[in-house]
């Protein structure tokens, strides 16, 4: 399902037998399950009430529990619901004013500047949709800010290549909107700085190795390469992340 729907569906795998993050992560690496967009955690954010595993809850685009149960017996029902939700995510919610349709559509397509500008246009026009338009523009703005904040996380946690990709995408998605000019230029300055050179070099070198690790798991030859990578780039955040993966193979 992670492969079928890609980034249109968020999947959070929650380990609930008390194995702990490290053991669960090692288990997933071993079985070559890390190379998807699925997320892994040992923090259990809620319970579905089921005592047996596997069990699941499917949340809607607005965060409501749509269904829960056994993912194996509910497989086709889950797929149907996921597909319906993915369609819903592309357009405005049913209860949203029609005048905000363009804004929602632009946001779903990843054109954040246009989405915010469209919502502001409706707000500036005044009338009965003005308040909802202002709230929507603010909501979009916060969501974009969250994405910029995630780049900080990526840079601090050794996901340098991913941070560079996301910075590029965000600069494109917010182009033409003054709100994020300063954030974009500060980010560019940070990425172009001397301090980042070793990180970027390590990030590039690690990308290829990471791909192989996703494909083949923590197999012996790759673990040796990982060890060499850590020796060379161990002082960088990418090296620290590699060291963590290496520790899972031990």
């Amino acid at each position: 399902m992670a492969e079928k729907y890609g980034e249109d569906l968020a999947i959070v795998f929650v380990e609930v037998q008390g194995a702990g993050q490290k053991k669960a992560e090692a288990f997933a690496w071993e079985r070559k399950w890390m190379g998807t967009h699925a997320m892994w955690t040992s923090e259990r954010p809620f319970s579905t009430g089921a005592r047996g595993i596997p069990n699941y809850a499917l949340l809607s685009t607005t965060g409501e529990v749509l269904m829960k149960g056994n993912p194996i017996s509910d497989h086709s029902k889950i797929e149907d619901a996921v597909e319906a939700q993915i369609e819903l995510a592309k357009s405005a919610p049913e209860d949203a004013p029609k005048s905000l349709g363009k804004a929602y559509k632009a946001f779903a397509k990843g054109d954040f500047a246009k989405a915010i500008q469209e919502a502001r246009k409706v707000h500036e026009k005044g009338g009965e949709d003005a308040e909802a338009a202002e709230a929507l523009a603010n909501q979009f703005q916060s969501r974009v800010q969250e994405r910029f904040a995630r780049i900080d996380y990526l840079l601090e946690n050794g996901y340098v290549s991913q941070a560079l990709d996301q910075a590029k995408d965000l600069a494109k998605a917010t182009k033409g909107l003054e709100d994020f000019d300063e954030t974009n230029s500060k980010l560019k300055e940070r990425l172009d700085s001397e301090d980042m050179k070793a990180e970027i070099e390590a990030g590039k070198a690690f990308s290829k190795l990471e791909e192989k690790l996703y494909e083949d798991g923590l197999e012996e030859k790759l673990v040796k390469k990982l060890s060499k990578f850590v020796d060379k780039h161990g002082e960088t955040t990418v090296g620290k992340r590699a060291k963590h993966i290496l520790s899972l193979a031990e």
Binding site: P54, Y56, A57, V65, A149
Partner: protein, 76 residues
């Protein structure tokens, strides 16, 4: 939980007849940080540590805008 079943979930293969009728064989043993959810409820949760592969997503709320499948599993 059986690895074969879990591999199916990740790869989208769990519609296979061989595994589709398999019963749950393991039990939840770790306590939930949040309460039990019902259909229609809107769970909120901020992770203490960002989930692996989350690229910095720190809460369920941050995932809004797309459907979210939360799946509970165990390696034993």
């Amino acid at each position: 939980m059986k690895p074969l079943l879990f591999a199916g979930l990740v790869g989208g293969l769990f519609a296979l007849p061989l595994v589709s009728s398999a019963p749950s064989t393991s039990w939840v043993s770790a306590p939930a940080q949040g309460g039990t959810v019902d259909v229609g409820s809107k769970p909120e949760y901020t992770f203490r540590d960002a989930p692996v592969n989350s690229m910095g997503v720190m809460s369920l709320e941050a995932l809004r805008g797309k459907p979210v499948l939360v799946e509970f599993w165990g390696p034993n």
